[in-house]
């Protein structure tokens, strides 16, 4: 048990608790809820165990689903995001990303921003398509994705900055 493992376990519990206790009942403008619990997946160590990430992302999504009574869309979206994460790393940071030491929770650079953005969009798109689950409501799903993406993005970036202020 080294400090990375403990930090990740704490992050899992803390993000889930905040999501369930506070953010799920925000209902801004009647329907907007941010889902920054995906920060757990984004901040997971770059070279960490991939199978473990998939399983923990699955349970993270499933627990959020359980509290929201939604069935499984959060779990599906989280697992997909965890699986696609290496591809997003390649897209944002270039092919040789594994040799650099990438830190997401550092000063906001265009690479980091594009990584967070594409992750949030992917997650929310899958989430809302599965949640609505009807073809005639696809426009609603896309609109929800757009609004919630903005909201989650802002919350994610603020959280990263609050918890770990960039050194001058």
């Amino acid at each position: 048990m080294n400090s990375t493992v403990i930090i990740n376990i704490l992050r899992f519990i803390l993000l889930l608790a905040i999501q369930v206790a506070v953010l799920n009942r925000l209902d801004l403008f009647g329907f907007l809820n941010p889902y920054p619990y995906i920060l757990f997946i984004l901040l997971y160590p770059v070279n960490g165990n991939k199978a473990l990430l998939l399983v923990s992302a699955f349970f993270m999504g499933l627990l959020v689903d359980m509290f929201l009574n939604t069935g499984g869309p959060h779990a599906a979206a989280s697992v997909t995001l965890a699986f696609l994460r290496p591809a997003f790393f390649k897209f944002s940071f270039g092919v040789s990303y594994e040799y650099q030491t990438i830190k997401i929770n550092d000063r906001l650079s265009p690479e980091r921003f594009s990584f967070i953005l594409i992750s949030v969009v992917t997650h929310h798109l899958i989430l809302f398509l599965l949640e609505v689950f009807r073809f005639n409501l696809i426009l609603t799903a896309l609109l929800h994705t757009l609004y919630t993406t903005l909201f989650t993005l802002v919350i994610c970036i603020i959280t990263i900055y609050l918890v770990k202020p960039a050194k001058q």
Binding site: V20, A21, D27, G30, F31, L32, N33, K50, A51, L54, V55, F58, G61, L62, D65, M66, F67, L68, N69, T70, G71, G72, P73, A75, A76, V79, T80, A82, F83, L130, E131, V132, F133, L137
Partner: protein
Amino acid sequence: MQQIVNFLFKNSITLLFLLLLGISLSFTIQSHSYHRSRTITSANAVSGYVYQQINNVEMYFNLDVENQKLAAENAQLKNMLFNKKDTVLTAVPANLGGYKVIQGKVISNSFSLQENYLTINAGELDGVKEDMGVVSSLGVIGYIEQTSAHYATVISVLNKKFRLGAKIKKNNHFGTLTWNGKSTGFAQLIDVPRLATVVKGDTIVTGSESTIFPENIAIGTIEKVYIDKKTNYYTLDVRLFNDMTSLGYIYIIENKNRDEIQQLQQATVPANE
């Protein structure tokens, strides 16, 4: 054989991903089908406990409003009590209705999705079972979907799966209460015959053919009237008496004769598949 093992080993991450995705998709599809076979609900011990704790804190912020609602209801009950005629002489015994009321409290409420559920802090140990009606002092809220020992989930009126037989109080014309997923303040009464005279502001109450709710429980008032072009029935927008976004204490209604009624109906109607 060696090659199969190699293949599995090489693609283990992808296979694990597909497995987990499959599980979550099956949960999703399950939750969207009408049959009550949901595996992951908030009526279990863990999330029920968490919601109860959160609610214990939140309750303090709403004490004022809740007190007012209870006081108003008390006044209404007292009104009924004092206006009642001599009870000894009533020909109908009080329990003929066959309804039993259980008290409970909403500990989690959702209203921003297409399929909204509430979680309440009364469960099997309190006598709550599937398909019991849930009302507040203002009107209909929903009916029980799943129960655990101490908690239960409720299909809210604001759920696309919600169906309830309702009628216009004045002239007893029946319709079905549904929700179109758009506004939290309004539900829709569909399939109202064109013969019915509908006037804006008329009260909608539960109908007598429902085996879940007693007759004449308030639902809302007519806000707008449409004519459904396909079926030529009226569709009415109903302004709900309940503010579904702020719910506190609720009552669960058990119809003691429900099984008897359903058995009778099943025995009478031949199975025509």
